[in-house]
């Protein structure tokens, strides 16, 4: 069988490209929703983690340790087949919650390290000039935190997209599962997996591209302002 025949069977025959696109859409949806949930939750955890209150710090530290120290697949199985099994929650939502919880721990830590890396002298100077605590945080500290956290945050997003490839364990048909099904049906596992990898790679580079684009826009705006 020629390569074009194999590609036709994998990508075209029986509208399989639509199925692959649907799988990709599921992957993107779960990743995007988990990212939003994880970022909001991560910011809250970071807030607790940087408090002086020992209890708040303790709870957030334990949470981060558990979430970062256990495989996300275990958490997914635990929530779907155990904790949330009788809750009547849709399986896609269980996946979003799982990955959201996992990402929140990573986001909390990257925000904390960014906060610690931000120049404290600038904040002190702003306070001396009469800025309120909130204004100092919003106008001085936060932009620095965003800038410092950005490279790690984009890696977290790409990791998240890759982590979602295990949702087949809870009967969700995402991109990985579609690729597996296609490989089984066509009996062309190597070629099908390479195609799957290329799609994931493209998705990752779209994320990197979006961040690079936002950097360019920011630089252009700064240039125009100067």
């Amino acid at each position: 069988m020629s390569l074009s025949d194999k590609l036709y069977k994998i990508l075209i025959k029986g509208d399989s490209w639509k199925t692959i696109l649907n799988g990709l859409l599921v992957t993107v949806q779960i990743s995007a929703m988990a990212l939003v949930l994880g970022t909001i939750l991560g910011a809250l955890i970071c807030l607790l983690r940087t408090r002086k209150n020992l209890l708040a710090r303790g709870i957030s530290s334990v949470y981060i340790a558990i979430m970062r120290g256990t495989p996300v697949l275990m958490l997914l199985l635990l929530l779907y087949y155990g904790v949330l099994a009788r809750a009547g929650i849709k399986k896609e939502m269980v996946a979003v919650i799982t990955f959201g919880l996992n990402v929140s721990a990573h986001v909390a830590e990257l925000l904390r390290s960014a906060l610690e890396a931000a120049d404290k002298g600038q904040a002190e100077a702003a306070r001396t000039l009469g800025f309120s605590a909130w204004k100092t945080f919003r106008l001085i500290t936060l932009p620095q935190v965003f800038r410092i956290a950005k490279p790690v945050y984009q890696s977290t997003i790409v990791n998240l997209i890759q982590w979602t490839s295990v949702v087949g364990y809870i009967t969700i048909t995402d991109l990985t599962r579609v690729i597996n099904n296609t490989a089984s049906r066509t009996m062309q596992p190597l070629l099908t997996i390479i195609i799957g990898m290329l799609i994931y790679l493209a998705l990752s580079y779209i994320v990197f591209g979006l961040f690079a684009l936002s950097d360019k826009i920011r630089m252009r705006k700064r240039g125009a302002a100067v």
Partner: protein, 285 residues
């Protein structure tokens, strides 16, 4: 004298090459043999159970894989020399993958029986499904389905998915399919369960007058989805494995489960690379 020593050395070398192969009829081992992961018994446990039998095999030991496609890649890359599973799946692989041939196993053949797996508190449903299977065996329906959705598919046919009938108000049974056992259980290009699995379940549902919902699960998650109530029926489970091999008794059925009457009995079969030395090694040679 020098010549004598040379002759003696040559004799010793020749004997050292020949003797191990001839000693007590020992069989040459070519490599490992791949099987799909079992539901309960582990790879080491199976190899332990089969250790006396494998002495006579041309393969070293069994290696488990979670997916058929993983096993096909392992075969293609030489990680295993034999892929062993039911004859239908092996013939399907050989018909779709260039360079793979199918053959009978080296040792005496065994049959795989395929049943559906249910929770042990679903005895009534299990009995009803079993009765429908027996009825379908008797009236030839099962054979017709096998011909249409297995034999014809192996030959290259691509039948449409069978849509189960709708029975308003009737109970719905959720059937877990893996999509990882073509042509018996696979997923179409349009992401629909397709083939023998849908045809058989649709026919059983028609006879029992129940609705069916297909749930696509990972092969290794079958037991968990059943025990946690995500599905009511797992479409396939292998039983009767190695039943012709004396001493190869093991239990693979998960706790708290029951199986239906078997809907198919298929010989265990081998897929090998066409250029592998194993392709033409038979026991009587």
């Amino acid at each position: 004298m020098k010549r004598l020593v040379l002759y003696a050395l040559a004799l010793v070398m020749a004997l050292s090459l020949c003797l191990p192969a001839c000693a007590a009829g020992e069989v040459t081992k070519y490599g490992n043999i791949g099987r799909l992961s079992k539901l309960r018994i582990t790879e080491d446990e199976l190899n332990d159970v089969l250790k006396d039998i494998m002495v006579n095999s041309i393969c070293d030991r069994y290696v488990f894989y979670d997916h058929i496609t993983d096993m096909v890649m392992a075969l293609a890359t030489g990680e295993i020399v034999v892929l062993e599973t039911d004859q239908n799946t092996v013939r399907y692989i050989a018909s779709r993958y260039d360079g793979i041939a199918h053959r009978e196993p080296y040792l005496n053949p065994n049959n795989l029986l395929f049943c559906m797996l249910l929770r042990d508190d679903d005895v009534e449903l299990c009995d009803r499904i079993s009765a429908a299977i027996v009825e379908m065996k008797g009236d030839g329906t099962l054979e017709d389905l096998r011909q249409r959705y297995i034999e014809d598919v192996i030959e290259g046919d691509d039948p449409d998915a069978v849509v189960p009938e709708d029975f308003p108000g009737a109970e719905t049974i959720r059937v877990a399919v893996t999509g990882d056992r073509p042509p018996m259980d696979y997923i179409s290009a349009g992401d629909e369960p397709l083939g023998f699995n849908t045809a058989l379940i649709a026919e059983i549902a028609r006879r029992l007058e129940v609705n069916v919902e297909f749930i696509s699960v990972n092969c290794e998650a079958r037991g968990t989805t059943l025990s946690t109530g995500i599905c009511d029926v797992v479409f396939w489970m292998e039983v009767g494995d190695f039943e012709n091999w004396e001493g190869a008794d093991f239990e693979d059925q998960p706790d708290n489960t029951i199986v239906t009457e078997s809907y198919m009995s298929v010989p265990l079969w081998w897929a090998v690379l066409e250029d592998s030395p194993v392709v033409n090694v038979y026991r009587d040679q």
